[in-house]
């Protein structure tokens, strides 16, 4: 039972309450009350869809109301002018908003927050104006009356109650679909994209495509909502395209909880029913509405559902918040997970189950003449170096000498101004970070780029899932798939010696351990080349020696390693060769011993006192 409760968050008690309400209250409710509740269902669907783009993808779209309006117009016009029934028109009334979303997404979706918000706002304004101007088709400002009621398989659904039940059945179906999407690998990918986009791209998540998927899904839900709305209300009016609809949707998402499936539904019921409950306020209910919105934003940052979860203490009983609510949280002990997955994690040190041994000592990464300029500063100046499969290259140099810039150029975070970057004979210069990651390049960051809110295990599992993210796997939700992924992630944590920390929130890990988790995450993508930025910083001598052994083991599996480090006692025994950068130039290269005793290297590090 406890597991059920925890899975659903507040969804289960809400569902029970809704059923009780349905059985005991609805049969005696007035026509008007039923109508209001039907509209609440429509808005629940709209907000469920909005949860994808505004919640999951974290993009402030102001076109959600517009997509609903387009769905309403398409369905209404088809019904009144061409006699097409609600259900027969659905492919078009859902498809057209999605198509519109696709069209505007191509130019607009890559824009930053406030630009995106304005662009979606303007699209809404244009659509509204076109709808009011194009009188011959849309009925102009007066709209079109006499829209027939909802229908199913050719049978019109008369009566308020059956209509309400149909709408809410679709809400339930939509909620299940949304829940499956956000609780699967796609949900993981969304969470990491939202929490740490740089890390998401670094493990191969195509954040742009993910945003597009969210935008299209939101438009689809909105189209369905619009179509239901116009048939339930019986009148098509330009109001449905107006900005107040968008504001209502946004308010529902914020008040309900933008990241919760249950939040969309609870928010819709509260916001749509509010004017009914607050009748004593008469005309001032809109004023109350504004005050409530302001209060919720200020005082309840997560919205009603998240606040309820906190109050009820269910979240508190979980050691670590899960990636998303309304999804399988991290309530199992890690060992449980592995058992469920039917895999025995390979605990043997040095032998990872996921990295195929690649023999040979071939040149894996080759840089030739790479330069990168920032403003007037030459951060990388004609750099050449080679990393071989199965070998460790140490990269040293004083602060600001260009080491991290070099890593950023190799991983595609910014392009080189000149020179070639080749991975296994393929030119990778100028490719997007996620594309380079998918070619087998994994990295860690100077300050570990983990999603602080997620457990160590979740951080690795996200990468494990994302490594094989496809359309099919995205929807293959549920515990089994997640359990397999988590079993593998656990094995990787064990391999890095961080298994004991699996359940801890990444944000609370000591920096040394966080870095081990980050390396485990990098390994989860099955890399050929592993780039580490100061992996030993923050570790004591014993831990450093331990990490050195583990990294050696990874190299012996055939992975090429490029390790940035200031710490010579750690790096010298680990590295096969070393390169020293100073002011963007390679000033020394060779065996660790040779580089360490090079006078130019000593000068660059210790300097000479000013005259």
């Amino acid at each position: 039972m406890r597991r059920w409760v925890a899975h659903g968050g507040v969804a289960l008690p809400l569902a029970v309450a809704a059923c009780a309400y349905g059985v005991f209250v609805l049969p005696h409710a007035s026509d008007y009350a039923l109508r209001v509740l039907t509209v609440a269902g429509v808005y629940a669907l709209l907000a469920l869809g909005y949860g994808f783009i505004f919640g999951q993808a974290g993009a402030l779209s102001l076109a959600q109301g517009t997509f609903m309006g387009v769905g309403a117009y398409v369905s209404g016009i088809l019904a009144v002018r061409y006699g097409v029934a609600f259900d027969a028109a659905l492919p078009v009334s859902v498809g057209l908003p999605v198509l519109l979303a696709l069209l505007v997404a191509i130019p607009v979706l890559r824009l930053q927050t406030h630009y995106f918000a304005l662009a979606t706002l303007l699209i809404g304004q244009v659509v509204l104006l076109v709808a009011t101007q194009w009188e011959s088709v849309t009925g102009g400002a007066n709209g079109i009356g006499g829209v027939p009621p909802l229908s199913l398989l050719g049978h019109p659904i008369e009566g308020r109650l059956p209509q309400l039940l149909l709408v809410w059945a679709l809400v339930a179906a939509g909620a299940v679909l949304a829940w499956r999407i956000v609780s699967g690998r796609l949900g993981d990918a969304f969470a990491l994209t939202r929490l740490h986009p740089v890390a998401a791209r670094a493990i191969g998540i195509d954040t742009g495509s993910l945003r597009l998927a969210a935008f299209l899904l939101s438009a689809g839900f909105a189209g369905l909502a619009g179509s239901l709305y116009v048939h339930a209300i019986g009148v098509l009016s330009p109001d449905v395209l107006g900005f107040p609809v968008m504001i209502t949707c946004l308010t529902i998402a914020v008040v309900g909880s933008r990241l919760r499936v249950a939040g969309a539904i609870a928010g819709a019921v509260v916001i749509i029913e509010l004017p009914e409950w607050a009748r004593f306020l008469r005309d001032d209910y809109l004023l109350a509405f504004g005050c409530i919105l302001l209060l919720v934003v200020v005082a309840l940052p997560g919205g009603l559902v998240e606040t309820a979860e906190r109050l009820l203490g269910w979240v508190g009983s979980r050691a670590v918040p899960s990636v998303m609510a309304g999804r399988v949280p991290a309530i199992f002990a890690p060992a449980d997970e592995a058992r469920m997955a039917g895999t025995r994690p390979a605990m043997t040190e040095g032998v990872g189950p996921f990295i195929a041994a690649r023999a040979g000592d071939a040149d894996l990464l080759t840089l030739v003449g790479v330069s990168r300029r920032f403003g007037g500063v030459l951060a990388l100046d004609d750099v050449a170096l080679t990393v071989r499969s199965g070998a460790v290259l140490g990269l040293i140099g004083p602060n600001g000498s260009g080491k991290t810039t070099l890593l950023n150029v190799v991983t595609g975070i910014f392009p080189a101004d000149a020179g070639r970057v080749r991975l296994g004979g393929r030119d990778i210069a100028g490719r997007a970070p996620h594309a380079i990651a998918r070619l087998g390049v994994a990295r860690t960051f100077q300050t570990a780029a983990l999603a602080a809110e997620l457990s160590a295990l979740d951080n690795v599992a996200v990468a494990r899932g994302a490594a094989r993210l496809g359309v099919g796997s995205a929807l293959r939700a549920g515990r089994r798939d997640r359990a397999v992924v988590r079993g593998e992630a656990m094995a990787l944590l064990e391999r890095m010696g961080a298994g004991a920390y699996a359940a801890e929130a990444a944000g609370t890990l000591p920096p040394g351990i966080a870095r081990l988790v980050e390396i485990a995450r990098a390994l989860a993508t099955e890399p050929r080349l592993l780039l580490l930025d100061e992996p030993a910083a923050g570790l004591n001598e014993t831990e450093q020696a331990d990490l050195g052994r583990r990294l050696r083991g990874i190299a012996e599996d055939g992975v090429g390693l490029l390790v940035i480090e200031h710490n010579m006692p750690f790096l010298v025994p680990l590295a096969d060769r070393m390169v020293c950068l100073d002011q963007g130039r390679v000033i020394a290269e060779g065996t660790p011993a040779a580089v360490q005793s090079d006078p130019r290297v000593i000068e660059a590090y210790l300097g000479t006192p000013p005259p």
């Binding site: 890990l509 000591p510 966080a514 910083a537 923050g538 210790l606 300097g607 000479t608 000013p610």
Partner: protein, 234 residues
């Protein structure tokens, strides 16, 4: 006389300790070098003194007064100057405006101070109408130092001024420190470049993993194996 006294300071980022019981003092009119590798906690210490991070435990006394509970702007007005890592000049304001904005005196005092800054950094005087982002790295560093001196602080926190500068420019920037100290401002200088820092300071403190690993007179530290080990691994 002790101007700044840091006692058993602890700072955490989340649960992650960045400083673990660090005690450092700076006397009036003294220059102290704060040495250590990346992530040793130098910048965190500086930010804790000016008030941009909140300590988890320990005390910071400035001129005998505890700084606890005071926001950064109050501390600055008490006479703590802060020149951050990465310079952080106000990009769209001119050189002159960057300096003026940091002075709390009247018009006459502003004019005097700005003349003093231009005398100390002649390169800035020639470019006083230029927007700060258009300056070279070295000039931006000088501007940042000048800005932190505009309100005549009694203590200057100087965080990694050599970052991204060539050795020649580093020498030029660090070379101003004796003059700053001579002007009555004590300096706490965080530097990676140990030899250069110790060359302009009278004392040094070495941080390692958020703790004090060594401290002493500059000349002693410069010769010590410990410092060498902290940077080059022996």
């Amino acid at each position: 006389m002790t101007l700044l006294s840091i006692e058993a300071l602890e700072v955490r980022y989340g649960a992650v300790p960045a400083l673990r019981g660090v005690s450092v003092t700076v006397g009036a009119g003294e220059a102290v070098a704060l040495l250590g590798a990346n992530g040793a906690g130098k910048s965190t210490l500086m930010k804790a003194v000016i008030g941009l991070v909140r300590p988890a435990a320990g005390r910071i006394l400035f001129d005998g007064r505890p700084l606890e509970g005071l926001r950064a702007d109050r501390r600055a007005r008490m006479g703590v100057g802060y020149c951050p890592e990465g310079r952080r000049v106000f990009a769209g304001m001119t050189v002159r405006e960057n300096l003026l904005v940091a002075c709390w005196g009247g018009g006459r005092q502003r004019a005097q101070r700005i003349d003093a800054m231009f005398a100390m950094f002649p390169a800035l005087a020639a470019r006083q109408g230029v927007l700060a982002w258009q300056l070279s790295g070295g000039q931006q560093q000088m501007l940042a130092i000048g800005r932190s001196l505009m309100d005549a602080p009694r203590l200057l926190l100087l965080d990694e001024p050599s970052l991204g500068l060539s050795p020649l420019l580093t020498d030029e920037v660090l070379g101003r420190i004796p003059a700053i100290v001579a002007g009555g401002t004590a300096v706490l200088l965080a530097e990676q470049n140990a030899a250069k820092a110790l060359g302009v300071c009278s004392r040094g403190v070495v941080l390692k993993l958020g703790q004090v690993a060594a401290e002493g007179r500059a000349a002693d530290l410069a010769a010590s194996d410990e410092v060498r080990a902290a940077f080059l691994g022996g």
